[in-house]
């Protein structure tokens, strides 16, 4: 099917025996064992600009001269052997900026890899098989290029804690839920404290009367009546669509949305990790998303979050725009990791970075780079892991995906071409949800590798 998948609709409906929200309540405890942050670099990033650099290799001599001084290389900056940790080599910064900006961006790049490279796995040579934004983004984040599969963050939240108030927070990117979990928007926490107590009027009074210790509380009578009515409505409803909606509402309402605690966590972050002092505060929007993600995890409201950053669809002036966007993103991810660490949950949070696809290994006449199906993902493991700087997968000098050995991830002509499906197969196992009821409706028939 295009646009919509019947499987998704049936799963999300009242036609089948179990409603998805209810179906998984028994499976996963509401104390989430691990958190996931998926970082979407919207538009299609260029792995050769950071984690799979090729340098001045003149791999496409027939493309040379498409503009002044271009020699047909994949990149326009030489490899720097000093920029390496373990097996990970990252790119130097092209000579496209003034000194101040060059230094800042180089610092953003170096800081990410130097600070976190030892717990990082870079997955190179991922073949998305598409040059289309929507298809690529869907494939990268769901492991399935066709429509209907849930984004991994939604799948994980749906499998482990579907009834948490903000189990799956999305700030953009492919965030299909397939009816497994409600999607929440939350990019800043300013208003949330007001929502923490619906009956709050002032420090002394509720709108509806309650005494100081809440042993007398008129509002509880209203809540109790609401709850009973919702159960009656769900029992009596026959239309599948409304049955589904009522089930979702009942599930979410049964959880205690401790939004006040979340706001407190954000306040703590703001007091101790100042946005304005942090590396020139270039990507503040992403950082506020990161604050909310960390606070939502820490206060037990959320299981998985999608963060979103744009600016990667660099068809023109690629070196400047792509490098600048990557620097901002890396700074934002560093801030996210600081937030997680500050709130004491870095040891149980995995961050996965990805984008729609890659970009051509040569420049167009506008000094831009167009769409290219080969891409990379980066996994920043929790703080207990030490990969030593691991790379899995490989590409040729022409930035084509190479077949790799399924155990070592090294080039092996008898091996396999990596796809996002392989990554998601592995992610599901790693997250412990590969056999969860929620997952079984969205199978991925790939072998398990040794990615993580």
């Amino acid at each position: 099917m295009k646009r919509r998948d019947f499987l998704q609709k049936l799963l999300a409906s009242g036609f089948i025996n179990a409603l998805p929200f209810q179906m998984h309540r028994a499976y996963g405890a509401q104390t989430v064992p691990h958190f996931f942050v998926m970082v979407n670099a919207g538009g299609g990033w260029d792995p050769t600009h950071f984690c799979d650099p090729k340098g001045l290799n003149q791999a496409y001599p027939d493309r040379a001269g498409s503009f002044n001084g271009y020699d047909g290389s994949v990149n326009r900056v030489a490899l720097d052997e000093n920029k390496r940790i373990g097996d990970i080599q990252w790119s130097a910064i092209p000579d496209a900026f003034g000194d101040t900006e060059h230094d800042r961006i180089e610092n953003q790049f170096d800081n990410l890899f130097q600070s976190y490279g030892s717990r990082m796995t870079v997955i190179n040579g991922l073949d998305t098989g598409t040059n289309n934004h929507a298809t690529g983004n869907r494939y990268i984040w769901s492991g399935q290029s066709d429509m209907g599969y849930p984004s991994f963050a939604a799948l994980y939240a749906g499998a482990t804690a579907p009834s948490l108030p903000m189990s799956f927070i999305s700030n953009g990117g492919y965030d299909e839920t397939a009816g497994l979990v409600a999607r929440a928007r939350a990019n800043n926490a300013n208003y949330l404290s007001e929502l923490a107590d619906s009956n709050y009027q002032d420090s002394t009074n509720g709108y509806f009367y309650r005494n100081q210790d809440s042993s007398v509380d008129v509002y509880q009578s209203i809540l109790s009546a609401q709850r009973q009515r919702l159960v009656r409505q769900q029992t009596q409803e026959t239309l599948p669509l409304r049955r589904k909606q009522l089930a979702q509402l009942l599930t979410v309402r049964e959880e205690d949305a401790n939004l006040g605690a979340m706001k407190s966590q954000v306040d703590l972050i703001n007091e101790n990790l100042n946005l304005n002092d942090h590396m020139n505060n270039r990507n503040r929007g992403f950082k506020t998303q990161a604050q909310v993600a960390a606070a939502a995890f820490s206060s037990g409201l959320s299981a998985a979050v999608m963060l979103n950053s744009g600016g990667f669809d660099t068809h023109g002036n690629h070196d400047v725009s792509q490098t600048r966007s990557l620097g901002d993103l890396f700074e934002g991810v560093d801030y996210l990791l600081q937030c997680l660490s500050y709130l004491g949950i870095a040891h149980k949070t995995t961050v996965v970075m990805g984008s729609d696809f890659g970009r051509t290994p040569y420049y167009n006449s506008g000094q831009g780079k167009d769409h290219w199906p080969v891409s990379s993902m980066m996994v920043l493991h929790d703080s207990t892991k030490n990969t030593g700087g691991k790379v899995f997968g490989a590409t040729s000098e022409q930035f084509r995906a190479l077949a790799v050995n399924s155990s070592t991830g090294l080039h092996d002509e008898a091996g396999i071409i990596l796809t996002p499906a392989h990554v998601h197969k592995e992610l599901r196992v790693f997250a412990g949800i590969d056999q969860a009821p929620a997952t079984l409706g969205f199978p991925i028939s790939k072998q398990v590798l040794s990615l993580f």
Binding site: R185, Y207, F208, V216, S221, G368
Partner: protein, 785 residues
């Protein structure tokens, strides 16, 4: 040659799909189809079929050299089958011999004769589904379309004439200003041009317009008649008129019952007095703008102050013309690269559309073409069958989109449309590609010539359309059979919040049945609209009267409906605000904030381009907070409104007063009071929740139980023994909180005199009603209309 290969490919594909269909269909499908109303045979179609088709497909459609046409892959939809016949039949180089009416008549005959399908009138009933009655449908339609309750006139029509009166009542709803706003919202969900309005981006639209072409874009900065402290107000009003130009075209066409095909074909744009100045445009009527546009009333000026903080700098009203009055206009002045103005092509040539769906040197308008197919031709380019290269890389062909069959299968459809945009640059400027400028980097090399559906746009000779290719494209789209279907789909998505069903060769029989049923109904709605001068209101009414809007209960299991059938949809933030205003007489200030609208599932047409359909913890908390605050704000206030036997202006409590309590002071039940309270509760269930219940129903009794409990416990709180008990701290009071009392008249805002104010609640009745209203406002049915 390539075309022949493609046709062969299609033939193989369809043949495969036919085989798949035959395996999947069983007798149940036929029985379901028999549920459809009486079959009408298209006689012209029968003649065509017998003359041109029967030799290959059998007189009875059951087969021959060309295979059966019964349950064929395209047989789920009249339009689909008609298009298919037009493009591919008869085979063997005779494809031109059955197009337009021939194709449609033949398709109707095949579907009627061999599939028992009717093309008479739109069905309003699906077996196994119970529909809302006329009263419920009107209420729901008024709320969905105009975000308000039915008017007395509308209600009377339905009450007196039932189903027959529904049509006339809906006509009145479709004249409501709120409906046109809603219609623009439906289209914005697709176009996303509200990204550029002031509340999202203060200069968003103005910034997109080239000052090289339009030197007066920021006309308000140079106008000596405008005070300095008023310029930002003019700027906001101008910006939003420019930003909403494409949506205003939709509104204008609907308001004037003009063909909705002009969305892509109009040779004019919609401007108000302010945006007209930015473009230095001329009205189509030739009138002087100062004479043609309506002068702003003081009420309209105050509305702008309400809407824009930029207009509140001065207490004076100063906007001379009504910002909501738009008229057709044309840009006829010279621009930098055109001496004769711009060739308008509906919203396709709008600067807003062209920037919202931009292009690049290498993309070559293909993203724009893909959008056009999706929005106006009901075609998902990516779903077109074809084998893409394994790794989507072809470095051997000098031009893969022309030379590689795998690429060509899509590109030969998409690229002619892309080429039709060639004169419109990435920033939306009109620069003909023959102009000697680097500002338009288009090259016609390596891409197919402009066209649509196999028809190539004439680029030379007397009928050349070279200079207005996009207008030519718009005209072609307007006459394409897929356009009417795309309009219906946009409306369906807007009304139900879900996309229309799609079926493929892998769909199950049940899926195919649901798809088939929906396609039949939607196709007929689209056709009715076309037959009535493409009046979009015809399609809106058709959808409202269809089971996809009216379904209220499932009475038996059936494949005719799928999991999303019905239109129970979470209200958008703006809709919720309007509903609150309509049913309570006040809106919720917290929901005015753009950020809070996002939290409640709204979109900003920029970073957030989809609405949330399922409730999450934050949205539930917001609803509960809204329920508490709004019940506090409106309950005491409603008791201020006049209530006499002759004139009852109460919105919430027309049947009770503040001394209508269940028992007298000695504890005896007051039957008439209890009856009045229940009657009012019954009324509130309908007013707030559209729930038609009797005064003695379980739901009314449950709500009454809450009222009675809060009233009884509240009175206990006010007794001396409670007041003297330290446990009751803070001390319960006979006074209402200052947030909940009635100090001003809710309708006039005029401060009430002492005796008219309501700030005491000695018998706890107001607070008991506040609890009831909070209970109902936090209900599922209040936010899922």
């Amino acid at each position: 040659m390539a075309l022949i290969v493609f046709r062969n490919f299609l033939f193989i594909l369809i043949f495969t799909m036919l085989a798949a269909c035959q395996n999947e269909y069983d007798g149940d499908v036929v029985s379901d189809r028999n549920a459809v109303s009486d079959v009408v045979i298209n006689e012209n179609g029968r003649i065509e079929y017998l003359a041109q088709c029967a030799n290959c497909h059998g007189v009875d459609g059951s087969g021959g050299p060309g295979g059966t046409v019964i349950n064929c892959a395209q047989c789920g939809s009249l339009i689909e089958l008609s298009d298919y016949i037009e493009q591919t039949m008869p085979t063997g180089g005779n494809e031109e011999e059955c197009s337009a009416d021939c194709a449609r008549n033949t398709a109707e005959y095949i579907l009627a004769a061999f599939h028992d399908r009717s093309f008479g009138s739109v069905r309003s009933q699906l077996d196994g589904l119970e529909n809302l009655d006329a009263r419920g449908t009107l209420r729901k339609a008024a709320m969905h379309l105009a975000s308000r309750l039915p008017t007395v006139e509308e209600q009377t029509l339905v009450d007196s004439q039932g189903e027959a009166g529904l049509d006339a009542a809906l006509d009145l709803v479709l004249e409501d200003k709120g409906f046109y706003e809603r219609l623009m919202s439906f289209y914005n969900e697709q176009l996303l041009t509200d990204k550029y309005i002031t509340s999202n981006d203060e200069n968003g639209a103005l910034r997109l317009i080239s000052s090289d072409d339009f030197e007066d874009v920021y006309w308000f900065n140079d106008d000596g008649d405008i005070e300095d402290n008023q310029r930002r107000c003019y700027q906001a009003v101008t910006n939003d008129a420019l930003a909403r130009e494409p949506l205003q075209l939709v509104r204008y066409l609907a308001m004037n019952n003009l063909p909705i095909t002009d969305v892509v074909a109009a040779d004019y744009i919609l401007l108000n007095w302010y945006s007209l100045k930015s473009y230095s445009a001329e009205l189509v009527s030739g009138e002087n703008p100062d004479d043609a546009f309506n002068r702003a009333t003081s009420q309209q000026q105050l509305a702008q102050q309400e809407k824009y903080w930029q207009c509140r700098d001065s207490r004076e009203t100063f906007l001379p013309f009504d910002p909501d009055h738009y008229l057709p206009a044309r840009i006829t002045k010279s621009t930098e690269w055109s001496g004769t103005g711009l060739p308008h092509a509906g919203l396709l040539s709008s600067v807003m559309f062209l920037n919202r769906f931009p292009t690049t040197v290498t993309n070559r308008n293909r993203a724009r073409a893909s959008t056009v197919f999706d929005l106006f031709l009901d075609t998902d380019i990516l779903a077109i069958e074809g084998a893409r290269p394994e790794d989507a890389i072809d470095l051997t062909s000098s031009n893969p989109t022309l030379e590689n069959q795998a690429c060509y299968s899509c590109h030969h459809i998409m690229d002619p449309v892309a080429s039709s945009f060639q004169h419109w640059t990435d920033t939306g400027r009109y620069i003909q590609t023959t102009a000697q400028t680097n500002d338009n980097n288009w090259s016609s090399a390596g891409i197919q010539s402009a066209g649509l559906a196999g028809v190539v746009a004439p680029l030379s000779g007397g009928n050349s359309v070279f200079s207005n290719l996009l207008s030519w494209l718009g005209q072609k789209i307007a006459t394409d059979a897929r356009y009417r279907r795309s309009v219906t789909r946009i409306l369906y998505q807007g009304l139900t919040g879900t996309d229309t069903l799609v079926a493929t060769e892998t769909s199950s029989a049940a899926q195919q049945v649901a798809y088939d049923a929906q396609r039949t109904i939607l196709d007929q709605i689209a056709l009715d609209m076309q037959n009535q001068n493409f009046n979009i209101k015809v399609a809106v009414k058709g959808l409202i009267k269809s089971p996809y809007f009216r379904a209220t209960a499932l009475t038996q299991n059936t494949d005719l409906v799928d999991a999303d059938t019905g239109s129970s949809r979470l209200l958008e933030p703006v809709q919720l605000q309007r509903k609150l205003q309509s049913v309570l007489g006040a809106s919720w200030s917290d929901l005015d904030s753009a950020n809070n609208q996002i939290l409640f599932g709204g979109m900003d047409s920029d970073d957030v381009t989809t609405r949330i359909k399922d409730p999450n913890g934050i949205m539930v908390a917001m609803q509960q907070r809204m329920a508490v605050e709004m019940s506090c704000n409106t309950v005491a206030a409603d008791f201020v409104r006049l209530r006499t036997p002759q004139d009852n202006k109460r919105l919430l409590f027309p049947y009770v007063s503040t001394d209508t309590v269940p028992k007298d002071k000695d504890g005896f039940e007051l039957d008439s009071n209890i009856s009045a309270i229940k009657h009012n509760i019954q009324y509130l269930h309908w007013r707030l929740l559209a729930e038609d219940v009797t005064a003695n129903s379980d739901e009314v009794n449950q709500t009454y139980a809450l009222f009675e409990q809060v009233w009884r416990e509240g009175n206990q709180l006010l007794k001396d023994d409670a007041l003297d008990n330290e446990r009751y701290s803070p001390r319960p009071s006979v006074y209402l909180s200052w947030r909940c009392d009635a100090y001003e008249h809710p309708d006039t805002g005029v401060e009430l005199s002492g005796q008219d104010r309501i700030n005491r609640d000695d018998n706890y009745a107001i607070r008991a009603w506040t609890a009831v209203v909070a209970y109902l406002l936090s209900d599922y049915r209040f936010v899922f209309e």
